[in-house]
């Protein structure tokens, strides 16, 4: 014999389960088939129904992710309309782009990391570091400094070792880029 109110609880649970079943799916697993990086959208194919989702948003302006074609991703549905969707996460990405405020940004792709703070820029790639403020780069500054140091003639004491300085300059130039 069931306790008083137990049937009602079970009925409420069943009702809740039925409601959950009827709720439209708002997220989908999909595979990236095409990326339009200029428009910051992509086309993906739903993994369950094999049907395309067109113009999937890759971001809204503050951040964008460029997923790799062929990778799996999770997308969300906007306003209960399957024809409007956005990228939540991707299995593999080729580029991330973040914009903070009007003049700050960070971009990472398969080749480089770029940080821009107003007119100061740091770029790291396989060639080295580019550190730049307006038109001035750290590499150019240090090279100019070494060139100037090499010109110094010491009357009393040891003169600068130009050859050693040039080696240092070469070493610096393998780390810094312009």
């Amino acid at each position: 014999m069931k306790k008083e109110g137990q049937e009602l609880n079970e009925f409420a649970k069943l009702l809740h389960k039925t409601q959950q079943r009827n709720t439209k799916v708002q997220t989908h697993w999909a595979e990236v088939t095409n990326v339009n990086w200029d428009a910051k959208t992509m086309t993906v194919k739903g993994l369950t129904d094999g049907l395309e989702f067109y113009d999937v948003l890759l971001g809204l302006g503050a951040s964008y992710a460029k997923p790799k074609v062929g990778s799996k991703c999770l997308i969300g549905i906007i306003m209960n309309n399957e024809a409007a969707s956005f990228l939540i996460h991707a299995e593999a990405v080729e580029e991330y782009n973040y914009t903070i405020g009007d003049n700050h940004s960070i971009t990472v792709d398969t080749e480089k990391l770029n940080v821009q703070i107003n007119n100061t820029n740091l770029t790291i790639d396989s060639a080295g570091f580019l550190i730049k403020k307006e038109n001035e780069t750290l590499k150019a500054c240090l090279n100019d400094m070494i060139d100037e140091l090499n010109k110094i003639i010491v009357i009393k004491g040891r003169t600068i070792n130009v050859a050693a300085m040039n080696v240092i300059k070469q070493r610096l130039n393998t780390v810094l880029t312009s």
């Binding site: 959208t41 739903g46 129904d49 094999g50 049907l51 395309e52 989702f53 067109y54 113009d55 948003l57 809204l60 906007i78 306003m79 309309n81 399957e82 024809a83 409007a84």
Partner: protein, 322 residues
């Protein structure tokens, strides 16, 4: 004038069963409307037909078998319904439930996703083997219907924001054309006091309808395009569209809706005899000696017909004024 009723039910040859023509019918009802996706009919057969005693009802009236229903007066047979049997009762009297071509479309699977679709491109994708008559120039934006049926797609289109009704005109699939079809056909005259059995009509004038419709198109980047039509101080509606980037397109959709809602006409229906036979989409010219303001020409929105108890009746629902 004496009018003798006659009816004929034709069941063409189907799955090995030879053609069957039934001339004795107890009752027939048909329901047709352009706002209703599926036109329906029921046929009640008489109890004392020996042919049905000899055969199994399910063998004769198979689900999906084509059926044609004709009835009229004095030997005239007017085709009132063509479709398929969807249900045949095993009880006595035998009752056949029928649906029009839409019944087939209900079973047609749809798995389609289109970029920047128009109404035309969507219909070509979902019902490629059908003769189509679709409202031109309607932009839908991106559409996606996964694991669906044609009927589910049409049902969705009939709801807001599009309010695009679909129906079958014989074998032709029509969408978005409210009254445009059949307007070339002759207008049917009715005199409310002479050849209408009863009426329950409430007139609403176009001038009395104050209406404002606001349309918002939500763009894919979260932006929106807004358009408005109508006058303030009355009913206000908002329709939400997706990815329609041109304001002119939003306005075009609003105008279509506004025109339908703003049109003067009648609420309710009137009941007429079986002749002249009326179907939705036709124009009806009403005349009344008692209420002259009711006279005018109106579109027919829906017709429900009954054939039973020695009478044929047509319950005609009127749409807007022409």
């Amino acid at each position: 004038m004496i009018l003798a009723m006659n009816a004929r039910i034709t069941l063409p040859e189907h799955e090995g069963r030879r053609q069957l023509i039934i001339n004795q019918v107890s009752a027939i009802t048909t329901e047709t409307s352009f706002k209703q996706l599926t036109d329906r009919a029921t046929v009640t057969l008489p109890r004392n037909v020996k042919f049905f005693d000899k055969h199994k009802v399910r063998d004769i009236f198979r689900r999906g078998a084509p059926i044609k229903i004709e009835f009229g007066y004095n030997g005239e047979y007017i085709t009132e319904f063509e479709g398929y049997i969807t249900q045949a009762s095993a009880n006595i009297p035998i009752e056949l439930v029928c649906e029009d071509e839409m019944w087939k479309l209900k079973q047609l699977p749809v798995n389609v996703s289109l970029q920047n679709a128009t109404l035309e491109s969507l219909f070509k994708a979902i019902a490629p083997n059908y003769d189509l008559d679709v409202l031109e120039g309607v932009q839908l934006g991106n559409v996606r219907f996964a694991n669906s049926t044609v009927a589910q797609v049409l049902d969705k289109l009939s709801k807001e924001p599009y309010n695009l009704y679909s129906y079958m005109k014989g074998k032709q699939l029509v969408c978005g054309k409210y009254y445009a079809d059949d307007t070339e056909e002759e207008t049917i005259n009715f005199h409310l006091e002479r050849n209408a059995v009863s009426n329950d009509l409430n007139y609403r004038s176009a001038e009395d309808i104050t209406l404002k419709i606001k349309g918002v198109s939500v763009l894919k980047n979260g932006g929106k395009i807004e358009a408005e039509i109508g006058e303030a101080g009355g009913d206000e509606y908002q329709l939400t569209y997706y990815n329609i980037e041109a304001k002119a397109e939003v306005l075009k959709l609003l105008e279509k809706d506004y025109e339908t809602k703003k049109r003067g006409g009648f609420d309710g229906s009137f009941t007429a005899f079986g002749t002249p036979s009326v179907r939705h989409g036709l124009k009806v010219k009403l005349t009344s000696d008692l209420y002259e303001d009711r006279s005018g020409t109106y579109y027919v929105e829906a017709v429900n017909k009954t054939y039973d108890n020695a009478k044929i009746r047509q319950e005609i629902t009127l749409g807007g004024a022409v």
